[in-house]
């Protein structure tokens, strides 16, 4: 019966991560790196909680594959429930089954905690290590073992070892046969151990703020920042344990027990649903999805997502525009979707970290290599907690290979060659970096190496339009850089530049309609009494422009204009 409950719970958790927040799982892997090296292990062993952190990172590396990540998360969360019950039943021998549903509460709390963007699996691992320690000591029936166990748990799992202290007190006081004096003695010794451990930690680990040492160095990407979901997860087991120890009077009759069990199970299930839902952000999931798909060059999926629900956040819009450019549809479909000006194409430099991650993808595909490197580096450098990120190390390796900086690329490739999922890719290029020329994307971007006279940025941002123009002038191809340049002109409402930029490369086939519409803007502005470039403008677009002009002159309402011309450049041009 108990096993069935646990298996059912694990299945629900698996389905949740697999189908509700799969991109959240994938994102967790992207922002860490787990190299199988001695220095990395040594680094983790050098602070309290480092072992849990190391194990957490070990598990997260498998999140590279969404279903594997979901499976691991479900196993770890189910283990949290099993361990919670083992702790309860170790402290309270022959614990009544009626308390069993309570053991799901800590697991649900950690499940909700892991829905938070910056929260780390290492916190859950720490919890499991502490529970296991608690069970071992409880079963040994030797109260003196609590003292070294607390110190060891602090080193292995960090300050979450506080849970062990509560379990120790509960265990000592739940033991009715022990002498009162022994209880007082062990309580005092445990308190002294806690003070000693905390004091030594503050003295030894001087590079960490006291708050981090006492609240956890690696439970969150942002050290020192602990959310309500963190504290709820930490205090859940002590609370459940104390509740289970409450005297319940006479033993319940079988029928009553079943009724209570069902009632408690239903209440906990409903509360868990509401609690996890509260912590599950579908908006963030969509942002992660766009970013992940953009990094994986899955342009069709991005367009399909956008067609279902128009993206509105800057990060989503950047990915959508990237997909439109890569699919060669930016000249026709750019204004089918919400647009946010130039920052929707390339983010400004002074933006938040995540947008730089996404922005780096767009800059990279546009061939703005130095910028892509800059954004990627800054994003990973300023990421809270100062962790390395496999995705961004890979990006730096890629860009440096493309730039021809082989020795720098080699540095990053070597780091990646010690990982599980990036090893094969890294080793291939470590052997011979020129193999990148066999890759269509890398080969295209090699053509974007810029050896023109330097163009200086005033401070942080880059003259993107000028660099794109310089690249297109050099290549003369209607490639991604060209499409980005014209998209830039369109979004900047820079009709004059578009008129000259469109001549930098020979467009294969018909000229995309949005470019034609832009070329007709001076004609519309002049009330149809100006010349336009007949080589580029088709009769169909001209007819549409004539209708637009007529509607404009007759003073049609905005909603009418939006209904009829909302997907044209003219409507975007006329809007503020």
């Amino acid at each position: 019966m108990k096993k069935l409950f646990t298996l059912l719970f694990a299945l629900v958790v698996f389905l949740f991560w697999m189908f509700v927040l799969p991109y959240h799982v994938l994102y967790q892997e992207e922002i860490q790196i787990f190299p199988y090296t001695w220095p990395h292990l040594k680094q983790c062993l050098a602070f309290p909680g480092g072992v849990a952190s190391y194990l957490g990172e070990f598990f997260v590396q498998f999140f590279h594959v969404a279903w594997l990540g979901a499976l691991l998360l479900s196993v770890l969360t189910a283990l949290a429930q099993v361990q919670s019950w083992r702790v309860i039943s170790s402290v309270k021998a022959n614990a009544d089954i009626v308390w069993y549903p309570l053991s799901f509460i800590p697991a649900v709390c950690f499940w909700a905690f892991l829905c938070g963007a910056g929260n780390l699996v290492s916190a859950l691992v720490a919890f499991l290590l502490i529970c296991e320690t608690a069970v071992i000591v409880c079963k040994s029936k030797r109260d003196r073992l609590w003292l070294p166990a607390i110190a060891l748990a602090y080193y292995l799992a960090g300050p979450m070892a506080f849970i062990l202290v509560v379990v120790a007190f509960a265990d000592i006081f739940a033991e009715s046969s022990a002498k009162r004096s022994a209880k007082v003695l062990y309580t005092t010794l445990i308190i002294l151990t806690c003070v000693l451990v905390a004091g030594l930690s503050v003295i030894i680990f001087t590079q960490y703020p006291v708050k981090s040492l006492l609240c956890g160095v690696e439970y969150s990407h942002i050290p020192g920042q602990y959310t309500a979901s963190f504290w709820t997860a930490v205090f859940s087991l002590p609370a459940v344990l104390l509740v289970s120890l409450l005297p319940v009077g006479k033993p319940l009759r079988n029928k009553t027990r079943i009724s209570v069990l069902v009632a408690v199970s239903v209440v906990i299930s409903l509360a868990s649903y509401a609690y996890v839902k509260k912590h599950c952000s579908k908006d963030m999931e969509r942002i992660y999805a766009y970013d992940y798909l953009a990094a994986g060059r899955q342009w069709d999926k991005i367009l399909a997502m956008a067609e279902k629900k128009t993206p509105k956040t800057p990060s989503e819009v950047i990915c959508l525009n990237l997909a439109l450019v890569m699919k060669g549809e930016s000249g026709d479909r750019l204004f089918e979707f919400y647009q946010a000006g130039i920052p929707g194409l390339f983010p400004n430099y002074d933006t938040y970290v995540f947008l730089k991650f996404t922005g780096s993808e767009a800059l990279y595909q546009a061939g703005l290599l130095n910028m892509a490197l800059h954004y990627s580096f800054e994003a990973y450098q300023t990421f809270p907690g100062g962790r390395e990120s496999a995705r961004h190390i890979k990006r730096m390796a890629e860009v440096n290979m493309i730039k021809g900086a082989e020795d720098v690329a080699e540095k990053y490739l070597k780091v990646l060659s010690h990982t599980l999922f990036y090893r094969k890719w890294a080793k291939k290029y470590l052997q011979d970096q020129s193999l990148m020329l066999e890759d269509a994307e890398y080969s295209r971007l090699v053509g974007c190496r810029n050896s023109d006279p330097d163009i200086f940025d005033d401070m942080y941002d880059y003259p993107k339009q000028a660099i794109l123009r310089s690249q297109v002038s050099k290549s003369g191809k209607p490639d991604e850089s060209f499409r980005y340049l014209l998209a830039y002109d369109l979004l900047a409402k820079d009709v004059e530049s578009l008129a000259s930029d469109i001549k930098l490369a020979k467009i294969d086939g018909p000229v995309p309609e949005l470019y034609q519409e832009a070329l007709l803007v001076p004609w519309i502005t002049a009330g149809g009494n100006a010349d336009y470039d007949r080589d580029f403008v088709s009769d169909k677009v001209l007819t549409k422009a004539q209708a637009f002009l007529k509607d404009l002159q007759t003073g049609r309402t905005t909603s009418y204009m939006k209904g009829h011309y909302g997907k044209t450049f003219w409507f975007y041009y006329a809007s503020k």
């Binding site: 990395h40 503050v202 001087t206 590079q207 703020p209 130095n370 580096f377 450098q381 730039k403």
Partner: protein, 490 residues
């Protein structure tokens, strides 16, 4: 009895494996392909073991070394699959007994089961003493943002690195150069940028946090140099900016849009000014007190419209007298080396503590050598006025940020010669005539593993004559408080 035999056998086997150098199947008349390249370097007798591996790509699957003294007696022989790791006690004993002499390293490398012997190379053991250790900053090799970084101390006799300050303690503020007074760690100046910005100044064990902005000077104190007596510190005050190259071969240019020099007297919190080093038409930078404290070396360029006129921004090596008794600047600036006339920009002057030389970093233009591949170290002879490129220690990559040991016989400098982005530390020996021995990379227990996995650059290195004693908790408390001692212009 069986267990006893087994232990003896295991120990004997281990000794046999670790000490025996296999006989070579063939011999090559060239130096062995090893990394770090310690061929022909000069080292102090107290240096940590020069552990090394065969270079990647040489196809090795085993390496052995036999170290002999000048008489040809074998002192140590070792072999390993990848990295030669000398036992630290035997290493130190070997260096100590061979101080002032040369050691010969005969390396054989195994490939596909066959051993190849290479031409033995020598390592000179200098009798000139080096300081206890180094201090340096480890920082990500990137652009303008600063994530995690720290200031560390490294014992040069072993591989121990100790954290002096870590910016995790200060909510990720930027830790600037940690500058002690002629390698004495009891006095240092350290500026911290970010939300808790301050100049942390420790003098004879007394620490205080300074707010160094005044109405007259306008900005924080930046590049420091201590007067040998410890009563004054010369600083630059810079308005620094960064720009980024779109050119794919370059990344960043760091430059000043204004910079002046001042001298600060910690005892009275006074700032001493001179119009001669605060000219509007000049950028003065990188002050450095001379060995006797009677002069301040610095660099100076014409003020320009930067970054537009970046390539014309060239600095000269200059000096100005300083009267420590009166606490006053001299009344003229001497130009020692005219940078623009030589087509170069001279930066970061560091006078040797024996008063013989000034070492500088020189490049084509600008004021931040680390981002200039052409940056090299040059030596100015104070006696003769000779100015030469120290070719024996320079590379094709940026060679810059250097400091002298207290004996003025060793220099530590940063270079990107190993991978053109991540700066590593090299140490070079200088003889009494100003000639340098081949520099060597800061030794590590397993250099390949350490340097390959390190995602930080070494930066702002200096020698330290003793371990740095800093109460980091107290320093943190001071920095996180809002209390700052104000400085004022005399």
């Amino acid at each position: 009895m069986k267990a006893y035999r087994f232990i003896i056998l295991t120990i004997a086997l281990a000794l046999l494996i670790s000490c025996s150098v296999p006989s070579a199947d063939k011999t090559i008349d060239s130096y062995p392909p090893i990394w770090p390249d310690y061929v022909g370097v000069t080292v102090p007798s107290t240096i940590a073991p020069l552990n090394f591996s065969f270079t990647e790509g040489c196809g090795g699957d085993g390496i052995a070394v036999s170290v002999c003294d000048e008489s040809g007696s074998e002192l140590i022989s070792l072999s390993d699959k990848e990295t030669i790791k000398f036992p630290i006690r035997r290493w130190h004993k070997m260096l100590e007994t061979n101080e002032g002499k040369s050691l010969s390293f005969a390396v054989t490398i195994k490939r596909n089961g066959a051993w190849t012997a290479y031409k033995p190379f020598s390592v000179d053991i200098s009798a000139d003493a080096i300081d206890y250790g180094l201090t340096y900053r480890l920082i990500k090799a990137g652009y303008q943002s600063f994530g995690h970084m720290g200031i560390y101390e490294r014992n040069l006799s072993n591989f121990r690195q100790k954290t002096v300050l870590d910016n995790k303690m200060f909510d990720a503020g930027c830790l600037n150069c940690h500058t002690s007074n002629r390698t004495d760690p009891s006095s240092y100046s350290l500026h911290i940028r970010g939300d808790h910005s301050a100049t942390l100044l420790t003098r004879d064990g007394q620490t205080e946090c300074l707010n160094t902005i005044t109405d007259e000077t306008g900005g924080f104190f930046v590049y420091p140099s201590w007067h040998p007596g410890g009563e004054y510190i010369a600083y630059s005050v810079n308005k620094t900016r960064l720009s980024f190259y779109t050119h794919t071969d370059k990344k960043i240019e760091v430059y000043d849009q204004a910079s002046d020099l001042i001298v600060y007297k910690p005892e009275t919190h006074e700032v001493i000014l001179s119009d001669l080093v605060r000219r509007k038409d000049k950028f003065e930078n990188y002050p450095s007190f001379s060995a006797d404290g009677s002069e301040i070396y610095f660099v100076s360029s014409e003020a320009g419209d930067l970054p537009k006129e970046m390539e014309g921004n060239q600095y000269s090596l200059c000096k100005i007298a300083f009267d420590a008794e009166a606490g006053r600047f001299g009344d003229k600036v001497d130009t020692l080396v005219n940078g623009p006339a030589l087509g170069m920009s001279i930066n970061t002057p560091r006078p040797s503590y024996d008063g013989r030389f000034v070492m500088v970093a020189a490049m084509d233009f600008g004021t931040f050598p680390i981002w200039h591949p052409e940056a090299d170290l040059w030596l100015y002879d104070i006696k003769t006025g000779d100015f030469r490129n120290i070719e024996e220690i320079n590379s094709d990559c940026p060679d810059s940020f250097h400091n002298w040991s207290s004996s003025s016989r060793w220099v530590v400098f940063t270079t990107r010669r190993d991978n053109s982005l991540y700066t590593l530390l090299y140490i070079a020996h200088m003889d009494e005539n100003g000639h340098f021995g081949r520099p060597f990379l800061l030794p590590q227990r397993n250099p390949r593993e350490y340097y390959d996995q390190l995602m930080y650059s070494f930066n702002t290195p200096d020698f330290t004559s003793a371990p740095v004693e800093l109460d980091t908790r107290a320093a943190r408390k001071m920095l996180l408080s809002t209390e700052r001692s104000r400085v004022h212009v005399r």
